[in-house]
């Protein structure tokens, strides 16, 4: 991957490895683009959080930076009225079923949502939408960590590491719509499931849904 391409992001000229995705080229060069579900090694990005929208010259509508390949001569703007609207809406939708009690959350100060709110000047509360809290018991069956679904943003990063790094396959997405959730086979607790409690998913979680019982 020695071949390099030159592109422009927010007026800055950037050189990046050909074949890579725009999101990582920007982040590697200190240009922030909000993201929650992105995993650098992932071949087919989930593109499910809808937070990494950017304007690409020549595209009619904003595109997700995590799926946009870098190309020679690409001209990108990370902010525009349209981008900000999309990101604000996606962010508020994520917050609408996220338990917003940051002070009680183990991810307080290291949370992906807090980072996005800070970087983009978004509010960590609902202004237009009604809260729709998820009712679910916290799974505390694993020895070292717990899973609180009421904080889950369904980014799928835990599932990706479970499959591709840990090679276990204990957790996955189940159900549909508002009931969409991350569970084990037949909704067993983590201890009952084939989970080997390696803890990689806890590190992958951008919010406080999966967290270690003892702070690290």
């Amino acid at each position: 991957m020695s071949e390099k391409v030159t592109l422009t992001i927010d007026g800055r000229e950037i050189r990046a490895a050909a074949g890579g995705k725009l999101l990582w080229a920007a982040l590697d060069n200190g240009i922030y683009i909000p993201n929650l579900c992105a995993v650098r090694e992932r071949v087919r990005p989930a593109a499910s959080c809808r937070l990494c929208f950017v304007e690409v010259e020549g595209s009619a509508a904003p595109v997700t930076a995590c799926t946009q390949p870098v190309k020679d001569g690409l001209v990108v703007r990370t902010r525009s009225e349209r981008v900000d609207r999309l990101v604000r809406s996606a962010f508020e939708l994520l917050l609408s079923d996220h338990r917003l009690q940051c002070r009680e959350c183990p991810a307080n100060r290291s949370c992906g949502l807090q980072k996005i709110a800070r970087e983009r000047g978004l509010k960590l509360r609902l202004t237009r939408l009604k809260p729709l809290p998820k009712e679910a018991a916290i799974d505390e069956s694993a020895a070292a960590f717990s899973f609180d679904r009421s904080r889950c943003v369904l980014c799928g990063r835990c599932i990706w590491v479970d499959r591709e790094v840990a090679k276990v396959g204990a957790i996955g997405f189940t159900r549909r719509g508002l009931e969409r959730t991350v569970t084990t086979f037949e909704d067993e607790t983590l201890a009952e499931s084939i989970c080997n409690e390696c803890g990689l998913c806890v590190h992958a979680c951008p919010v406080g849904a999966l967290y270690f019982k003892q702070p690290e």
């Binding site: 996955g172 086979f185 037949e186 909704d187």
Partner: protein, 192 residues
């Protein structure tokens, strides 16, 4: 939040695994075929029991939780066995507006199960359907093949009583006798 699968009776698991094994013989067990395989299993068994999904997972190399994900994503798949009496509550627009939700809630409370579930004695299963085509009678409930119109919570009690009564009149055991599990659980319930 989560519904718990009904326990299987002795011998039921073996029967399930044999049927699934036969279906798997006719398919390449790859990701593309998972839905047709699940459909055939459900056509044979009436639902998708856990051991069936686990066997398909093992044969295809797909994590079992993904089979569970498929089975919970599509409305056509059932995770509970059909009951002896199948209660279908219409949630079409007319029935919904006329109080179909109230009828469904009443069944859920009376039977102590949620929509999509089956009572532990396997006597009743409860489902929602989208329009049965007789909106003038809204809210409509279809019990087995009998259409009930203008169903109120009081009528829900009546429907359940009639189902129970017809059991007694025919001199049958109060619990479902269509499965060994039903029989065992019914006996257990009577003892306790």
């Amino acid at each position: 939040m989560f519904s718990v699968p009904l326990p299987l009776a002795s011998g039921e698991r073996e029967e399930i695994l044999k049927i699934v094994g036969d279906i798997l013989k006719n398919h390449a067990a790859n990701r593309e075929n998972l839905i047709p395989i699940l459909q055939q299993v459900q056509a044979k068994l009436g639902y998708l029991p856990g051991p069936a999904m686990e066997k398909i997972a093992a044969a295809s190399g797909v994590p079992a939780v993904d089979l569970y994900g498929l089975a919970t994503f599509y409305n056509q798949f059932r995770l509970h066995p059909p009951g002896k009496h199948r209660v279908n509550v219409c949630m079409g627009t007319a029935c919904y507006m006329a109080g179909g939700r109230i009828a469904l809630d009443s069944f859920e409370r009376r039977l102590k199960i949620k929509e999509g579930e089956t009572t532990p004695d396997r006597n009743f299963s409860l489902e929602r359907v989208a329009c049965v085509g007789c909106c003038t009678m809204a809210p409509v409930v279809v019990v087995d093949d009998k259409v009930e119109g203008r169903v109120t919570p009081t009528r829900v009690d009546g429907i359940l009583l009639e189902c129970g009564a017809s059991n007694g009149a025919a001199g049958e055991a109060p619990a479902a006798e269509n499965t060994p599990a039903g029989r065992e659980q019914a006996e257990g319930a009577q003892r306790s």
